[in-house]
Symmetry: C2
Subunit: 307 residues, 2 copies
Amino acid sequence: MSAVFQRLAVIGCGLIGSSLARAAAASGAAVSISLYDADASVLARAGALGLGEAAASASAAVRDADLIVLATPVGAMGFAAEAMAAGISPGAIVSDVGSTKRAVIDAVGPHVPDHAFFIPGHPIAGTEQSGPEAGFASLFQGRWAAITPLPDPRPAYAEAAERLAVFWSRLGAKVETMDPDRHDLVLAITSHVPHLIAYCIVATAEDLEQVTEQEVVKYSAGGFRDFTRIAASDPTMWRDVFLANRDAVLEILGRFSEDLSALQRAIRWGDGDALFQTFSRARRVRREVIEAGQDTPSPNFGRDAVS
Amino acid sequence: MSAVFQRLAVIGCGLIGSSLARAAAASGAAVSISLYDADASVLARAGALGLGEAAASASAAVRDADLIVLATPVGAMGFAAEAMAAGISPGAIVSDVGSTKRAVIDAVGPHVPDHAFFIPGHPIAGTEQSGPEAGFASLFQGRWAAITPLPDPRPAYAEAAERLAVFWSRLGAKVETMDPDRHDLVLAITSHVPHLIAYCIVATAEDLEQVTEQEVVKYSAGGFRDFTRIAASDPTMWRDVFLANRDAVLEILGRFSEDLSALQRAIRWGDGDALFQTFSRARRVRREVIEAGQDTPSPNFGRDAVS
């Protein structure tokens, strides 16, 4: 298959950015790849891994690129866009992989020149690990990639969005076009609030005076270890997500807290039927997740082989 | 190695009971195994799987057994103990695998005859799946098994507890003796509250009017799918756990809710430092879980291979 883009510029070489570079190279979706990261050590490691040509600056990295993807924490995307703006070629597509879309549009949009096409995006894929070494080419295989185009009337804009969708498909992703605000609400429930809850329960456990941390770790196979895995995700990235998607996260958190209070009350009053009914609903959702190819049915992910 | 027990009776043939039968057979820790389950279909399936001799009643199953293990939901253990009481041989050890210990002691204790030894226990191992087909012999490998002996002054009681510990070791578990109330508090944070939270967020997501269930499933790779896995666990078992360990669960839930409110407030007021500090602590706990052999460091448990 022929390449979708001549030159891909990846700004931010962590888990997602480095996976993007690997997937673009492995699939032949881009002919050449340039890299930049504000952290010199990360950039050097990404270069040493052979992920692309390490550039001296963001504006140098995007020069001659026909696809530019911002893969920094969302709080840094505005600065990254401003820094690279002068180097953006006419006709280039500027996209991103941020977990929130409205805040990225507000921060990045003003810095994208009129001769380029800003098409925000978000591949819903990741692991709990961080850094260029943690990336891998198959990360996006079978995952959904959301594209949230702006209301831009230019016919060339629609063509550019189509080309970006083809690019993600070549990386193995399933592409869906979404409204940015709807994206932010859907991700608040499917990703942001779950991460906040995982961080919270790990912190609550660590703060307990009556139970030692050693005991918590020792008996973590009962469920807690899954939360530690989710809560091992990059703290800077997640801080930015919560600040950027404040309204949707607060809306979902409010509902979750109400629902948790109802379960707490059922426990206090011994209402087993209420508990059973809530617990039973979850199995159906689980079945749908597996049928949709978003998880494997294998129990416990082979953890019995740990020791 | 010689067998630890001549005849093991397993009462309740679900995930844990069937794994126990498999592990005892595979390790040679028991010479013969008898089975009973109040659900005739479950009992027939366990028998057909060759896990042991299916008995016609609980009291028939325990006859001639020198180790009897209750593996029913904790809410059924009192009835199971009463039902089998007449069949318990002098000198037999009666134990269980319940996730809460104080409630089991109160419910089962009165039915164990004086000529037997009641030594409650809890292997901290499991998966989200249920039923005799879901069990496997290596489930307890490298996991902790808690034993919570009663204050019984008989020298033979201490010997019986030691023999039960040897049995669990032969199944691959690491054995720890604990006070029952401490067990219940430690498990509230490492297992019970995490499960309640997982059930709750899945229910909250399902109830959302603004976001369709199809959208939730589609984008679940962002974190939500891990909660659906935990929340796929057996609803009857978990209903009983929360009713049985009410006080400890309510204590931990109260702390969790306070901590979640503090994070919610930090999001509302844009306090990124508070978020970052909480998120950063979690990585250290995660490292300890991996170093303690309670999870693998592999990212995402190979889920990239799903599609």
